[in-house]
């Protein structure tokens, strides 16, 4: 069997001053720039220099309780991605939007609009929102339970896709002579009435350049993994080790068949947090510099939020008090990450201080401090060993962590034939090697 050569995909997980929680205190970063468009223009250019597939903006709908010591996400994804679209040419633009606190019509419309503005570079990271306090910014009712949120998400995505498909590809005529703008016979309402949504449609916008903006998902619970296998074309995930990465990879791909999908219709992109030095010693110095800026009080708050228990008075240099933690099934929020970090503390018998430091940069994602060669080796191992189809790159601090990767690691990956040397396509789907989904046809007319 001849199979096309796999090639690695790299998404830049763009987060304010960088992924290390103390990055904003680093002398080389400027936290005031996180609301400055020029900052993102520079970062977008560096990412395009490295021929990265896409960049991604995470999002939450609440002011995090830990914000005192930690930089905010900054701007809002739709507005920022649209502005980045205007100052970049090729890179894909993936933004988070919640299925719990939005209307499908708005989300379909905003992504279609972003797809038009960026000429086919939009992607949607579908999240169900794990934050219990986010609910109160929209209503006085509590966050719906985990399984309910995922059921709602399935229906939400189904409606959004149907809205994107409500115009046939050639419905827009725009014939100035005859005055025919759109062919109404090729525009179809949905009349969707489901458990959570009633949406008549059609969308008030023609089918977008990609047909469907790329669908991305990042759930790690059972519900989350099944949902990803059903709808996602790229999956973000936090995997601390090569072995857990392989297991996750096999797990997700094996869940796809029942949905009639082939494993290569989905890219698995584990997070990867590199600290790069020309020598190992230099890389380690860089890491030390960042770790020493970590604020323990912040780390305690962060772990308390994740574990749903107040750890602020617990002794730092004794083992993590696992007996105080709730059981995993009791977690309505971010269940996947709870399991990961709790497992890390239990298996490695970490003290509280060690756990804070271990998760300060990578937050439980894979990480490596080393030379460009060592980093390229590690990425190659994950890629060839089917622990990853590519990576969600999490630079420690910006812009240096990103330019180090682009200028030192990317050329090494290119030399090994693992990563593109030029963009070969224009749309986000083309970067990931996916075709444009066929639109609606008037099938009835042919039968």
């Amino acid at each position: 069997m001849i199979s096309a050569k796999r090639s690695m995909h790299i998404n830049l997980f763009l987060m304010n001053t960088g992924h290390h929680e103390a990055s904003w205190r680093h002398p080389a970063t400027d936290p005031r720039r996180i609301t400055d468009l020029n900052y993102y223009r520079e970062l977008g250019r560096i990412a395009e220099r490295g021929k990265l597939d896409s960049l991604f903006l995470a999002d939450t709908l609440v002011l995090p309780p830990t914000v005192e010591h930690k930089v905010l996400h900054g701007l809002e994804p739709f507005t920022l991605l649209s502005a980045i679209a205007a100052v970049t040419d090729k890179i894909g633009l993936i933004g988070t939007a919640s299925t719990t606190f939005n209307d499908p019509f708005h989300i379909a419309r905003k992504f279609a609009s972003l797809d038009w503005i960026s000429a086919g570079r939009a992607g949607w990271n579908i999240v169900t929102t794990a934050s219990e306090s986010a609910a109160y910014n929209f209503t006085d009712a509590a966050l719906p339970p985990h399984d309910e949120r995922y059921r709602k998400a399935s229906e939400f995505v189904e409606v959004v896709k149907a809205l994107w498909d409500s115009w046939e590809d050639d419905a827009l005529v725009a014939d100035k002579e005859s005055g025919l703008y759109a062919d109404m016979a090729k525009i179809h309402p949905l009349d969707h009435k489901g458990e959570h949504f009633a949406v008549r449609g059609p969308l008030n916008m023609p089918r977008s350049p990609q047909g469907h903006p790329l669908l991305v998902q990042a759930g790690s619970s059972e519900d989350g993994k099944s949902f990803a296998a059903m709808v996602a074309e790229a999956v973000f995930t936090a995997q601390p080790t090569f072995e857990s990465g392989q297991a996750f990879y096999a797990d997700i791909k094996s869940r796809m068949k029942p949905f009639g999908r082939s494993p290569d219709e989905l890219c698995i992109l584990p997070g990867f947090f590199p600290i790069i030095g020309d020598t190992l010693a230099e890389a380690q110095d860089k890491q030390r510099e960042l770790d020493e800026l970590t604020i323990v009080a912040y780390g305690l708050k962060r772990l308390s939020t994740l574990f749903k228990v107040d750890l602020t008075d617990c002794p730092l240099d004794e083992p993590v008090p696992l007996h105080l933690l709730p059981r995993q099934e009791e977690i309505n929020g971010n269940r996947g990450r709870f399991e990961l970090v709790e497992g890390m503390a239990r298996k490695e018998k970490l003290t509280l201080r060690q756990l804070i430091m271990r998760t300060a940069g990578s937050r439980g994602h894979a990480s490596l401090t080393g030379t460009p060669l060592q980093i390229a080796d590690e990425l190659e191992r994950w890629f060839l060993g089917r622990a990853a189809d590519g990576f969600n790159l999490m630079p420690s601090h910006m812009p240096d962590g990103l330019s180090d990767f682009v200028d030192k690691v990317i050329p090494e990956l290119q030399n090994r034939g693992l990563f593109r040397t030029e963009y070969t396509g224009n749309t986000l789907r083309e970067h990931y090697g996916f075709s444009r989904p066929a639109g609606k046809r008037k099938l009835e007319a042919h039968t």
Binding site: L75, F78, T79, A83, V87, F101, I117, V199, M205, P206
Partner: protein, 370 residues
């Protein structure tokens, strides 16, 4: 021509930027900025117009955010349909736009078309617009956003690298806004925007709109049939403003206008059909049009502005050939107004939309209490 008498009152100008073609939107925005217009307004639609769809529009926040990267001084006002929107989402997107554009964001609020309700699962009319919604929705929506913007003090962010303190916790607060139609706890997850509050624009169509505008609007857009009607309407609006304890200059009044160019020998079919050459009047589509040469259009604008009825105009190009038509306005009519000393000849030194509109920066409402 009406002589060279110039008024000291500023003439404010905004223009609609719409359509689906992003590159054309960029061209229009750049043209408007060169002509020193104060703002662009991106209209919204929450449904597909049937049976004859008018040109669909890009979604306002995504469009304006992209335009913020290719313009540098012009205001960027997004239309939001409050019946289908959350104050938290809107306040946040406006704040983001305000940061990216260095203080150029604004928000035009409308309840949203009733016929669009079915796209948002609001099946019954009562669900869409419960009794009394019209009257208070715009007010509640604006108030909730303003409280969210005020959930951060201007100096809350300190970024003290040494101490590891990002912000001063005492300067960020929950707002717990609870209205009849909206509730939001806050605080917002983005700091107070550069303008404090991006200006609120309210189009005046109904009696309810007038009452709402008197409370929350920084700019009102009227759609009168005649100058007499405009004078009457603006007297009423200014009186309502006064009753709310606000000064007339705290609510700018713009008349929506479609200028139609008539250059020698180029009177198009549209112009003739409108029958408004050389004067102003309402068209069949309900738009106030003014057709003529650049001088005639300037005369007309001058007449209206001098009457004191309006502070300026919101330019809505005709549906056909919007870019060409706007080009004529920007490149012929505006210079004519400038020659007469009626329109600014240099851009403002500030990028803040509020400042350009002569509106003061609001103090934080939670400060008064502390």
């Amino acid at each position: 021509m009406m002589g060279g008498k110039s008024s000291n009152r500023q003439l404010y100008m905004s223009a609609a930027v719409d359509g689906l073609n992003y590159q054309q939107c960029v061209q229009l925005a750049e043209m408007a900025e060169r002509a020193l217009l104060h703002a662009l307004i991106a209209p919204e639609s929450s449904r597909l117009e049937k049976p004859a769809p008018s040109s669909p529009v890009l979604e306002p926040f995504t469009l304006l955010a992209a335009l913020s990267a290719s313009t540098s001084t012009i205001g960027l006002i997004a239309e939001v349909h409050s019946a289908f929107y959350e104050p938290f989402h809107a306040a946040r997107k406006l704040a983001a736009l305000d940061y990216m554009s260095s203080g150029r964001a604004g928000c035009l609020t409308l309840p949203g078309q009733e016929a669009a309700a079915a796209n948002f699962g609001r099946v019954s009319k009562e669900q869409l617009r419960p009794h009394g919604y019209e009257a208070s929705a715009a007010v509640e929506f604006a108030e909730a956003m303003q409280q969210l913007w005020d959930s951060w003090d201007d100096d809350a962010l300190i970024y003290d690298k040494q101490a590891g303190m990002q912000f001063d916790e005492a300067k960020v607060r929950e707002v717990n806004y609870t209205g009849r139609y909206y509730s939001t706890r806050g605080p917002l997850n983005i700091a107070r925007p550069p303008q404090g509050h991006p200006p609120i624009v309210v189009p005046i169509r109904t009696q309810d709109d007038k009452l709402a505008a008197a409370r929350v609007a920084d700019v009102m857009i009227i759609e009168p049939n005649s100058l007499e009607e405009a004078i009457e309407l603006s007297l009423e609006l200014r009186e309502l403003l006064r009753q709310q304890g606000r000064q007339p200059e705290q609510g700018r009044i713009l008349a929506s206008l479609t200028p139609i160019a008539v250059t020698a020998g180029s009177i198009s079919e549209v112009d003739l059909r409108l029958g408004t050459v050389g004067g102003g009047g309402k068209t069949a589509r309900g738009r106030l049009c003014c057709a003529g040469t650049a001088e005639e259009i300037a005369d007309w604008i001058q007449l209206w502005h001098h009457s004191g009825a309006v502070d300026g105009f919101h330019i809505q190009p005709p549906l056909q050939a919007a870019l060409d038509s706007f080009g004529y306005f920007a490149e012929q009519v505006i210079p004519e107004l400038q020659r007469r000393g009626m329109f600014r000849q240099t851009g403002s030194s500030s990028t803040s939309l509020r400042e350009q509109l002569g509106l003061s920066r609001p103090i934080n409402q939670f400060h008064v209490i502390r």
